[in-house]
Symmetry: C2
Subunit: 337 residues, 2 copies
């Protein structure tokens, strides 16, 4: 992978600092709103919600909403609610995903379901989803609400589709594209679009941010799927090889299976969806993937999406925020190196 | 119980027929919308959703929305979307509840999670919730959306609260009241209120329907909780004694424990939350409950709520629909006889 390490990697890291600085004031309001809206007189609700929320995560999605709002220069304040709603939708999805996937770890700590159980994780996810819609309603803008409601159904559909494809070695690249578009890129797209709405963007600006968010989300998920095999558990907050053991048909597996010989296919099939896959069996699968350059080719696809995300920004006025959004796309793909 | 059988039981049964007839045209549109909105290109989504939807259920909640809209005489068509959204929210809750409670049966058939698994049940529930909000957005009315979004969070909170009280023999009547208000009555209340909004009700009319829906929902849940011990599995679509085995602190248990002697308390505590409770142990618990007239006293409370529901209707203009809504409240409590 080192050979792919881009020269603008350093510029990318700088971009994150610049994005954090440019959105710091707004994100302060968003974080306060997130904490206050996780409150409930039912103790277990804020306990569980805060456990997940305070584990942090990158807050990339709400930051995208805020950045998009500031980009168009006429931010009216609605972005605070939208950003918090986007983060709540994301957290609701994480809670439900961990139940669906029987995951033990999330953001480097035991998953909430390990501590509070599956039932509470399902229900607190529902609570966060309800709060997300309530925060949207409070802004009084139906078009933004429609964007997020539509996203909620597409995300759930995508998760079901992914579930139906688990362990299915005939899963195509197109199927994978559909899954990651629905389950990940749709929320990035919605986050960017509702930000644009709050920022007073015209239809051209909204369309540009839709494309930017979508392509950024696709790149982000492909990189995430590569890191699942290559990252370290500590950095990722998950266990390396989780996707393999859960039978998730991600791009590195699909690309490898397409070219693997019968012996290699058999080794992969034995580990796919097998929770008891050993570390040595995982290492063997990873070696096969590297032999077929599956990680390198996956990252190349991610880079192509980043290119399209950056190109979409041509549709919005030139500004420092636009430069940051362009560079940040580069940064997120650089995580894979 | 026979001694409680009210003289207006027969009028009650007639009321259901009258309600069905008065809402038939509107419910035809609602049912068509429900089926079309359960569609998805991801096969498992409509399969699972239709399995639950076609099992029927009484469609009481959407019927309440439609009836409330017609009651005020200025129904503008939005009630179709609202009613379908209410039913989707209800079905989403059922899917998640069955996962939370490990339930095997629902509406007289194996629960969806037994056929498609817990993961698909969680995700299709999320899909239905998203579709519910989308249908609300399409009507373009923010106040109705706010009512349903608020209801969604309260329902989830109530379910978490119930979960935290499972097997807790110190659960009070007030705790129980809070649980059923949140998890059941809130949706009845919202169903009636959004119907009133679609019907062009003024604030007095809306407030009347809020109270009517709330009190009807409270009565409905108390009766349901009585039937869990007294109903037959076939009629209820669930197994008799499920609540006891799941450790649910419902009104009959709470009223019994308050007056039970130590020996009786011990017998109940041994079965509460014990999935292996035998039929004979269940019969023993039921005998103790009857000794303390827990079912009769529960039904009395339900009757009091029905009285308040009917009284609330004084706030809306006299009409045949108002008579039907008054009688139907009586009918639903008559199920307990």
């Amino acid at each position: 992978m080192a050979v792919l390490a881009a020269a603008n990697d350093e510029a990318g890291v700088g971009a994150l600092d610049r994005l954090l600085a440019a959105t710091a004031d707004e994100m302060g309001k968003v974080n306060a709103l997130i904490l206050s809206r996780a409150e409930s007189h039912v103790e277990m609700v804020p306990q569980l919600a805060r456990y997940l929320i305070e584990a942090g995560g990158k807050r990339l999605r709400p930051m995208l909403t805020v950045a998009a709002a500031l980009l168009f220069g006429k931010a009216d304040g609605a972005q605070t609610n939208y950003a918090a709603a986007v983060e709540f939708m994301h957290n609701a999805t994480l809670l439900h995903d961990d139940v669906v996937d029987d995951s033990d770890m999330r953001r480097g700590r035991p998953a909430a379901r390990i501590i509070w159980g599956n039932p509470a994780s399902v229900l607190v996810g529902d609570f966060l989803l309800g709060q997300a819609f309530l925060m949207m309603v409070e802004t009084g803008k139906l078009d933004a609400l429609g964007v997020l409601a539509k996203a909620a159904t597409i995300i759930a559909e995508g998760e079901v589709f992914q579930l139906s494809k688990a362990k299915d070695v005939t899963t195509s690249e197109a199927d994978y594209g559909e899954v990651i578009k629905a389950k990940t890129a749709t929320l990035f797209q919605a986050a960017a679009e509702v930000g644009a709405i709050a920022g007073g963007a015209d239809e051209t600006g909204r369309a540009a941010m839709r494309t930017y968010g979508l392509e950024l989300g696709l790149a982000f998920q492909i990189v995430d799927d590569v890191l699942d095999y290559r990252g370290e558990s500590g950095a990722m907050g998950k266990n390396t090889g989780d996707d393999l053991r859960e039978g998730k048909m991600t791009l590195p597996v699909i690309l490898t299976l397409r070219e693997a010989n019968p012996a290699e296919r058999e080794i992969i099939a034995a580990s796919l969806g097998n929770v008891d896959t050993s570390e040595s069996a995982l290492a063997q699968v990873i070696a096969i993937m590297e032999r077929h350059n599956a990680f390198g080719r996956s990252v190349e696809q991610a880079r192509a999406h980043v290119g399209r995300a950056r190109a979409a920004l041509a549709g919005v006025p030139q500004s420092e925020m636009r430069n940051i959004l362009s560079d940040i796309a580069e940064f997120y793909v650089s995580r894979a190196y």
